[in-house]
Symmetry: none
Subunit: 418 residues, 2 copies
């Protein structure tokens, strides 16, 4: 079934707030086989609301609307939809008592009268009682289309979706089943990848779609199959996943929707091996990306961000001569940094980075964007010099991605050895 | 002037990716007096793209489109817009050479032929050269409406906006002058702040708008004045900035659009003082936020991410007894970590963090979300225990913000002493 999401409110349009509600809703609709086909953010204005409702209901069978239900004057949603659905507005007594109780609970002796308006609902709508806030939701059906109105406050919207809306959608018979499968690849560009599996992609049946979801240094492939026979869809998808996996040998990190860092934390923990980093140009960004994952403490011992040369010597015991002869940005120095991190933090694996992140500080010999990365494992080691761009943030992001790639390659090789 | 944003791609509709691009664009259009009136996320399908372009161009004078420009098969945008604008597709030789150079730089001997398509552009469009990626942007004008097409990868979109698109829009709005002034505040919540300056806000003339742009731990105020007399606008705005600044004494960090970290790097560099961090629960995120700023090497010596207790002892010389008696998450331990970082990295200031980031690992005494932060300066020191949420990412972000706030407060006090 197709759904559309309409979010109402200027805070999204002026960039003050990032719309996280829509992604959450889409994620929770997918398991019910409800596919979001458009998300529209509009202003709190009569014409905009009418136009969006009209257009959405022509493309989808479900229209979810958030925001615009506050009591202040700039929220015209309720009056607009009363006209749009040609329904009178009535005051819901149960909601009114609930709103008054909430105000009392938060220590207001008298409720400002404007808040009585929170209990106003469309007579033609089913009220979706909101235990966690003052604005109730509304469910109204017209010409085969379901319209759901909810407050924009994320936890109120989530409460109403979980308790009132999703259960009703679940009751709609799910004739069409959707099955997703993922393949996470590293170290191969989107277009190279596309060329390598072009024949497999050409052979995909109509009911299986392939999407490329690239990030820096990674490409996630998603196969989405839809139909009526769940077991068949799963079997068919698995066949293509196997074909693609075999074709891309050496580039496969995982087969689920998780992030690369999550897979690294899991696989290192399973293997009982530990990691440390020694970072110059990345300034702790490699460490921060790993430690953002719950459970990282099982396999991550620590990091030394050695920005100053004195720190490279004192903390990691990089030799004075190495720094003098080859410089801070050199394969020799990153290798000694990685050795230092492995020793200081007593780990099995270490990553080290050093580079000219930019935008200034480059020389003819070592231009902005030049980055050296070393990884050391239990048995082997690798060191590479990259030449990136002149944008500091991008250089740091790319270095993080490439160093995790190098770590993964070394780790995969060594796992096979043991 | 009115603008609309159209984002193309299934990853937004299925909830896999949260759309942060649109908020960024809206924020950067506002200072040019360009107001976003609708944001539409659609699927990579011919009819959806055509319908969205048509509707947007009827409501706005500027239509910004992101996504759908990759070389693989699921990107139909380019062909659709060629038909929509009735423009032939041509291969841009300059872009082609750039794409080939990028592939060579990243170590690919041969570029997959599919990538030649990246150099295909509409003959009727101005090419927006993309130095940081393979997909160029396009600028095309039709019937008084400007359409801009950009890749959806955030850093490529931001690069094109900053370097190619915003400067052209700035030339547009030359008739009406817009003047922006900023006030960056720390340590005061949005609603408290609004209450404190309510009377000043009420007295603002019609042609000056006040926006609250909150981040975790910070609120940036933006005053936007528009009119025809630039000198008058600047003078009037300055009066209100002075009033607000006086009212919020003790909470003001700066008066420009820069990030808090940029101001810290600048002020520390000017004062000739240096910083190091010792991080446990933040895992390098404090260090990464500082070193993301160009020129950070002038004032940042390094960081020790001491995740394991052994690292706290070996690298930072935290006493065994302290860890035994008070535990890793304690005011005593973070204070010794800060002292250790100050000594090891030979700096004037040090920040230390330790906490239970979650989602698991809490105890009755030390629940998930409990975080200790210490800062030491040239003369003073501060230590605080916070109780945050049970969301790991939010806890890390909050800890970064609060530790920078504590650093700034101590630094400001000490600057006045010298």
């Amino acid at each position: 079934m197709k759904a559309e999401i309409i979010t109402i409110g200027d805070e999204l349009l002026n960039g003050q707030v990032v719309d996280t509600n829509s992604a959450w809703m889409a994620q929770h609709l997918a398991p019910l086989n409800i596919r979001v086909v458009q998300i529209t953010s509009i202003s709190d204005k009569k014409e905009a609301i009418e136009e969006a409702l009209e257009a959405a209901s022509q493309r989808a069978q479900i229209v979810l609307v958030t925001g615009g239900l506050g009591p202040t004057n700039d929220d015209v949603t309720k009056e607009t939809i009363a006209t749009y659905f040609d329904s009178p507005i009535i005051r819901d007594e149960e909601v009114l008592r609930h709103v008054e109780r909430l105000f009392a609970k938060f220590g207001f002796a008298d409720m400002p009268p404007i808040n009585q308006k929170q209990a106003d609902v469309l007579a033609d709508a089913d009220v979706l009682f909101n235990d966690v806030g003052t604005a109730p939701g509304m469910w109204i059906e017209r010409d085969g289309c379901v319209f759901v109105f909810m407050p924009g406050v994320p936890f109120e919207m989530k409460y109403l979706m979980r308790e009132r809306v999703l259960p009703r959608f679940a009751a709609f018979s799910a004739r069409e089943i959707t099955h997703n499968a993922y393949i996470l690849t590293v170290g191969i560009g989107e277009s190279h990848l596309a060329r390598q599996i072009a024949d497999i992609e050409d052979n995909l049946p109509d009911y299986i779609r392939l999407a490329y979801l690239p990030k820096i240094g990674l490409v996630r492939l998603r196969l989405t199959a839809s139909g009526t026979d769940g077991a068949l869809l799963e079997r068919e998808t698995a066949t293509f996943v196997d074909q693609i996996t075999a074709r891309l040998e050496g580039h496969i990190v995982g087969h689920d929707a998780r992030d690369f860092e999550e897979i690294i934390v899991e696989k290192f923990t399973e293997a009982g091996v530990t990691l440390a980093t020694a970072e110059s140009c990345t300034g702790g960004a490699v460490s921060a990306s790993i430690t953002a994952i719950p459970g990282a403490s099982q396999m991550f011992n620590g990091a030394a961000v050695t920005y100053a040369n004195s720190a490279k010597r004192n903390v990691l015991a990089v030799a004075e001569e190495t720094l003098m002869q080859f410089g801070a940005v050199s394969e020799q120095t990153v290798m000694e940094m990685a050795q230092g991190a492995k020793r200081v933090f007593q780990t099995d694996y270490a990553i080290a980075t050093s580079g000219v992140a930019g935008p200034s500080g480059g020389t003819a010999e070592k231009p902005v964007g030049m980055v050296c990365v070393a990884v050391i494992g239990r048995y082997g080691r690798e060191v590479t010099t990259f030449q990136f761009t002149n944008d500091r943030k991008i250089n740091i992001e790319r270095t993080v991605a490439m160093s995790l790639n190098m770590l993964w390659n070394l780790f995969s090789k060594e796992v096979k050895m043991t």
